[in-house]
């Protein structure tokens, strides 16, 4: 790329969110260039499970975005060739409780979700064994969420970029954001030349803070590490996304150290995926036996047959989390022409379609389907960045299931 490129919008990041932004922007008639310093899906997208979830979200802006995204995923999956290309599977989610008290809390949570438009069906212990015949005996019951679905995230990102027909520049690092004299964005500088455009979308995921900094603005996106365990291929023995609701009490202790909770699901290709762990340890990729040991223990408690099933590998990724656990979506009032679409924590695959649609609507000058106020990129005052303050925020959130739902520990690993 030696010539100067010109287009309507540059999307920085070829992960799931960048791919969705490219698709909906292109369909809105805009000329799109997607640029990534690595390959397609080289960051968090390639290290996730690909869940499209409503089950783990309490009523509020994130759930509204999840429901919008869910509808858009269903539409995309119905397009010829696309759904099979990215292994769309509307498998449904099953949240289980081992004790009656846990089940009661779970049902209360589901009742709130129903008022917000979530389909949630209470499941008795007997019905649980029908839905998941291999699940551990003695579980009290659960709630079934038919809207939960799954895609293969790397395939989804790659096929959405391809379907968008956007120009894709991989292995190309953005080194600066070009600004005109009045401060407005006029493109990006890369290690392979400049790309000129009146709009730039920051879809750099966990690295979104760095891209924002290139434009001179502050966006507190930080990594939260997670491991996923992958088993040998199996016949379909785990039919839904299955996870436990009873870990909530453990989560109340706001430790920056390891937290794990069992999340188990099968895949179209056969292997069972086991999540999910959360640690705030920076970008440390080193293998941790204690973490995967805890994942294995949790999974075998939910599905005893997994005891003898072999783990083939494990992989690590970094969820882009923000201090209030909501993504940054929309125009940045501090820099005209700069939009953000990052910080989705562990829910980026599921929330990608809605995010892409909202960004495309803003770019096209239309009214977005959802109120973007809760997602404002400039909502973080610098004092929120102080470590002590952030710690207290987390303590308040994680220790108070009532405020943001009992699945706070889950929001992080929804991918």
């Amino acid at each position: 790329m030696t010539e100067r490129l010109t287009c309507d919008v540059v999307v920085v990041g070829a992960g799931m969110v960048g791919a969705a932004c490219a698709l909906y922007a292109a369909r809105a008639g805009l000329g799109v260039t997607v640029v990534d310093r690595g390959p397609v899906a080289g960051g968090t997208t390639g290290a996730g499970e690909g869940n499209l979830l409503v089950s783990d979200k309490e009523p509020g802006p994130e759930l509204r975005l999840a429901l919008l995204s869910n509808r858009l995923w269903t539409d995309l999956a119905a397009e010829p060739g696309l759904g099979t290309a990215f292994e769309y599977d509307p498998k449904g989610g099953l949240v289980v409780a081992s004790a009656p008290e846990g089940l009661a809390a779970l049902e209360a949570f589901a009742a709130g979700q129903r008022t917000a438009g979530v389909a949630a069906e209470t499941v008795t212990a007997g019905q649980l064994r029908e839905l998941e015949p291999e699940s551990a005996p003695g579980l009290a019951g659960g709630v079934y969420y038919p809207q939960d679905a799954q895609v293969m995230p790397t395939l989804a990102a790659a096929h959405l970029v391809r379907a968008s027909r956007a120009r894709l520049l991989t292995g190309c690092t953005v080194t600066g954001v070009l600004r005109s004299r009045d401060g407005a964005v006029r493109g990006v500088r890369t290690d392979r030349g400049e790309i000129h455009a009146p709009a730039v979308v920051n879809a750099a995921g966990t690295w979104g803070g760095e891209v924002a900094a290139l434009a001179g603005v502050h966006l507190p996106v930080l990594p939260r590490r997670g491991f996923v365990l992958v088993t040998e291929p199996l016949p379909p023995l785990v039919r839904h996304k299955v996870y436990a609701a009873d870990y909530v009490a453990d989560v109340a202790s706001d430790s920056a150290a390891l937290q794990t909770s069992p999340v188990v699901e099968g895949t179209a290709a056969g292997p069972v995926l086991i999540g999910a762990s959360r640690e705030r340890v920076g970008f440390d990729r080193s293998f941790s036996l204690p973490v995967v040991r805890a994942l294995a223990a949790g999974a075998t408690r939910l599905f005893p047959f997994l005891e003898r099933v072999r783990a083939m590998r494990t992989y690590v990724g970094f969820r882009p989390y923000m201090p209030d656990h909501l993504p940054a979506i929309g125009p940045d009032p501090r820099v005209p022409g700069l939009l953000h679409a990052c910080g989705h924590e562990g829910a980026g695959i599921g929330l990608a379609t809605g995010t892409g649609q909202l960004i495309a609507q803003v770019l096209g000058g239309r009214t977005p389907d959802l109120d973007l106020t809760p997602f404002r990129p400039d909502r973080f005052a610098p004092r929120d960045e102080e470590p002590g303050l952030r710690g207290r925020r987390f303590a308040a959130r994680d220790g108070n299931p009532g405020r943001r739902g009992r699945f706070v520990a889950h929001e992080e690993e929804a991918e």
């Binding site: 991989t170 040998e232 080193s286 294995a296 005891e307």
Partner: protein
């Protein structure tokens, strides 16, 4: 791979008996009982360290000293081995140290992970020590944990095979596989064989097959080894290596084996099994010369393109791996950059048995000294270090000559299976790179499943990298072999075991000191 005569460092008898041990001796786990692991174990135990030698095979020796099963009653197994005397010394030394209680040998133990523990007695290179997690038994299901103060990784290497149309036909085997059959099973796999690929292993495979009564129709080497003679001409200590090569050349001549250099197998033919191969000449750029193809009937094709170090355990321990060479980085004492972890043999770079012996010896001596709280004196292993330098230079030169043809991937048709575990074709890999934006092996894997199967990309990794036109890199494989989730869930749960040399059965399986 080589017949470098070993110096005194290869002789177990030279160490004398195990030294006196006051109190509990430090514990060293050696993973791998090939030349490097054996040399390390013997050197360390002779200096007052208790060694647990863990290996996946039934008997020690590794690939190089692979032994026929006793039940087969081979009368002259040494006929297939170089360095038979060296092996005998290693074997007898090991037996002595096992009898004296200085070495615990754990055969048929498949190590899936070496864990660095965070707590434990202070004053040793790594205060917390290590747990070697292994699986025992034919089903590899029974967990065994070995506690140690230090670890020598002597995990060796595995064969690299690049695909070509027809390579999945029965009758196509790897060169190393043919060698293993000859050494271990004494089974001759066919009547007419072609040996092909690149690398010094092809020579002993061809002569070995011929000696076993197989007609070797051709030895097809894609490199031009004459360049090696020029290259090696400047190196010290080349004489024995060149003599070794000359010996093979003579043997090939005597057996009337046709050698085709700068040639490659472009296709294997057959319906149910291999019937013939097409070979072609290569031009100087490494492309097939049009019109040079010829067909050679055969029922066996032994093919290999060199070796790749087995770095999985080192990587999950966090040892630095040289990205280009794909080998574990070590210092002059064979120490990795993780305190308490040494590495020796092919895992630090492919270099054959003699180099492995030298490195293992240095690693064992260094580990023994450091685990006993002493600064080692490198003068003690001068001979081994000198041999190590010479052999590393030699194999570095070899590496520049024995490289697969630059454009080998062009020979792959779109329907050629590249990843056999997941049945991914070359066409699927090309689509991932050309149309879906994959730029590296990892993304190709995620988009196509190439490398996600049972072998975890050990087999297809180099091929996928070649097709994708990107650099071969080490894949991160935190589990060196698949591990049951029930074992994983309880790994390391047991506390420090009681008796220092006993095996104790418990929830997490036996723990070995």
């Amino acid at each position: 791979m080589s017949t470098e005569p070993v110096g005194p460092y290869g002789q177990a008898g030279a160490y004398g008996q195990a030294g006196p041990r006051g109190g509990t001796p430090p514990r060293l786990a050696v993973v791998g009982a090939g030349p490097a692991g054996l040399a390390a174990a013997l050197a360390a135990t002779a200096r007052g360290v208790h060694v647990t030698l863990v290996d996946s095979a039934q008997a020690p020796g590794g690939q190089f000293y692979r032994q026929p099963a006793a039940a087969l009653g081979a009368r002259r197994p040494q006929a297939l081995h170089h360095q038979w005397r060296t092996w005998r010394r290693l074997r007898d030394g090991l037996a002595r140290h096992i009898a004296a209680g200085g070495v615990t040998l754990l055969p048929q133990h498949h190590v899936w992970c070496v864990e660095r523990r965070s707590e434990g007695p202070a004053g040793r290179p790594h205060a917390g020590g290590f747990t070697v997690h292994a699986l025992l038994g034919p089903g590899q299901e029974e967990p065994v944990e070995v506690r140690a103060d230090g670890v020598v990784l002597a995990t060796g290497g595995y064969e690299k095979v690049l695909p070509f149309p027809g390579w999945t036909l029965p009758g196509v085997i790897t060169a190393g596989g043919a060698q293993a059959m000859l050494k271990g099973g004494l089974v001759v796999s066919g009547r007419t064989a072609v040996v092909a690929g690149t690398g010094p292993l092809l020579l002993p495979v061809a002569t070995g097959l011929a000696a076993a009564g197989v007609r070797v129709a051709a030895l097809v080497e894609s490199a031009a080894p004459r360049a090696l003679a020029r290259r090696v001409g400047t190196l010290a200590g080349r004489a024995d290596k060149l003599a070794e090569g000359a010996g093979y050349a003579l043997e090939l001549l005597r057996r009337r084996v046709r050698t085709l250099v700068r040639h490659t197998v472009v296709e294997a033919h057959g319906t149910d099994r291999l019937e013939a191969v097409t070979v072609a000449a290569l031009d100087t750029a490494g492309r097939v010369r049009p019109g040079s193809e010829r067909r050679i009937p055969c029922d066996t094709l032994a093919v290999g393109h060199g070796m790749v170090p087995h770095t999985d355990l080192a990587e999950s321990l966090g040892c630095r791996v040289d990205a280009h060479g794909m080998s574990v980085a070590v210092d002059d004492e064979q120490r990795t950059d993780v305190p308490g972890v040494w590495a020796a043999g092919e895992v630090t770079g492919i270099g054959g048995a003699a180099l492995s012996l030298a490195e293992g010896h240095v690693a064992g001596r260094s580990a023994a000294a450091r685990l006993r709280g002493r600064e080692p004196d490198p003068r003690e292993w001068e001979a081994a270090a000198a041999s190590r330098t010479r052999l590393r230079e030699f194999f570095a030169a070899l590496d520049t000559v024995y490289v697969p043809p630059a454009h080998w991937a062009e020979q792959l048709t779109d329907d050629t299976v590249v990843c056999r575990c997941e049945e991914v074709t070359a066409g699927a890999v090309r689509e991932a790179v050309g149309e879906l934006g994959a730029g590296d092996v990892r993304t190709v894997k995620l988009l196509t499943r190439a490398g996600m199967g049972w072998c975890q990309g050990r087999m297809c990794g180099p091929a996928v990298a070649g097709l994708a036109g990107c650099a071969e890199t080490t894949a991160r494989r935190p589990f060196a072999c698949p591990v049951p989730l029930g074992v994983l869930a309880r790994a390391g749960e047991r506390g420090e075991p009681g008796p220092p040399t006993g095996e104790t059965q418990g929830r997490g399986g036996p723990t070995v000191e």
